[in-house]
Symmetry: C2
Subunit: 289 residues, 2 copies
């Protein structure tokens, strides 16, 4: 055989895309093909390994549904999501740092009143999230939309729970800030939990002898006209997985302290349980350049 | 922000897999993550492009079914399949060269008698495939199993046709060689045809301004005890797409001439149509080392 290492093959593939009308498509495909072929050559991939890769990708696609995104999870555990995040959020002076969207954002677009308990009636300790939205200089933003979502005490998002009914969200809400830029709500204290391990990504973590845990956090997606959307989490200080998040999402500026309280009333004046918590955070948005 | 180019992130991801018990898993994941992160950095991938990639991969998974493998097709059009083939078939002295399996191998494991017409009753010119299976020294192999599959005059494999019934194959058979190593069959003359373009891979080809055509060929998968399985095609000489196969699968040694004949009988002595063709090929298998 001529072409033992198949350099001509790689050249032929690159050449085949050289007529792409969009120069960005041409550039990205050139870089993708170069790295993909270099990886296959370096790894000296066997036919069986190639078959295993095809099977892994196919099952990752099949595991992705309306309420679960296994390819996002794969991107997360390989650090690709946080890398794309880092590349796209350079120089965020004064603005809140970003982190992964995660695979469980499905949105809840009905506006929820401030103070609402996101899991009414469910047993477990409550946290009062007392937050505000400002610009990078600290000026309050009126009418900012804030989507919130988090997992329950068993580590499951509403869409993962048996008997989940679309259109009946739990631990998921949208708030709109007032003129003071503030919003608040009550919910269960979040806890650390594993990413789903019953799919192909679980197999990958097991093959790497990696744990699947994420430190306790609440997801936030904030939007205001004239500002860049902010996708982030607030992590709970003291969590044992802050240094080894399965998706590499922790940034020190996103960690907040859970303050334990025994006041007889919530900050909004309604009667509180004997023991509750407060988590305060200010989100600063970056103006669209 | 510290860590602008996020080199610490890549180190953290590599480190997270350093405890993989299998050294091969460790090595391959290290190479994969290094190239994947280098690609994302070089491409300076935007959030929208990352979302588009997640969506593309997800739809590629969803397009993959029991009778269609869109990830294999993706691997094919990116030249990855032929690269893996090249890496795994170095030094095939005397043995027939290999090429891609393609996305339409579903197997037909019932043995078919020699001489069978694979598309009985279908209109169109016939070719008599007159083949033999030998070792690399040319000695005939008795009892070799030969799986054959190809597309019809419209470029469709049986599994792609409307009304396809599993278990009722067309243009798909398994032959077993006799003591002389020979097998033969009749079928429609294959023609060049496009790979499926109604899925994500079709979008990729369109974005690259690439044609989707494959030169006319018949697929063969050959197995014999003590020999390596041989996955290959025989291409029809003179086809206009031999130089630009959409999946980069052509090797000169796999091209055979279609000999046009007007003998009144087929080689097996039965009455032949006024005009038919003969395609002769000898497959040489490589002994397992």
């Amino acid at each position: 055989m001529q072409d033992e290492g198949a350099p001509q093959l790689t050249q032929a593939v690159l050449q085949s895309f050289s007529g792409a009308p969009d120069p960005r498509v041409r550039t990205v495909l050139h870089q993708l093909i170069s790295h993909l072929h270099a990886f296959v050559r370096e790894a000296d991939l066997t036919m069986d390994e190639w078959h295993a890769a095809i099977d892994f990708l196919t099952r990752t696609g099949h595991a992705s549904t309306a309420t679960r995104q296994e390819f996002i999870l794969l991107s997360d555990v390989l650090g690709v999501s946080m890398l794309v995040d880092a590349i796209n959020h350079k120089g965020h002076t004064g603005a809140t740092e970003t982190t992964v969207l995660g695979p469980f954002y499905v949105g809840e677009h009905r506006v929820t009143p401030h103070g609402t308990d996101l899991v009414p009636g469910a047993p477990g300790e409550r946290v009062f999230v007392d937050a505000s939205v400002t610009d990078a200089a600290g000026r309050p933003l009126d009418g900012a939309e804030v989507d919130v979502w988090h997992a329950d005490g068993a580590g499951l998002y509403d869409v993962q729970q048996p008997g989940y009914t679309p259109g009946e969200p739990a631990m998921r809400a949208r708030f709109v800030t007032g003129a003071d830029g503030r919003f608040n709500f009550r919910t269960l204290v979040p806890c650390s939990y594993p990413v789903p391990t019953d799919g192909p990504v679980g197999e990958l973590l097991a093959a790497g002898n990696r744990h699947a845990m994420r430190p306790a956090h609440i997801h936030f997606l904030l939007r205001a006209p004239g500002f860049e959307p902010l996708v982030t989490h607030v992590f709970v200080a003291g969590d044992k997985y802050l240094e080894s998040d399965a998706v590499f999402g922790v940034k020190p500026s996103l960690i907040a302290r859970l303050e334990t309280r025994d006041d007889a009333t919530w900050p909004d004046g309604t009667p509180a349980p004997a023991r509750w918590h407060r988590l305060a955070y200010r989100f600063a948005l970056k103006r669209v350049p």
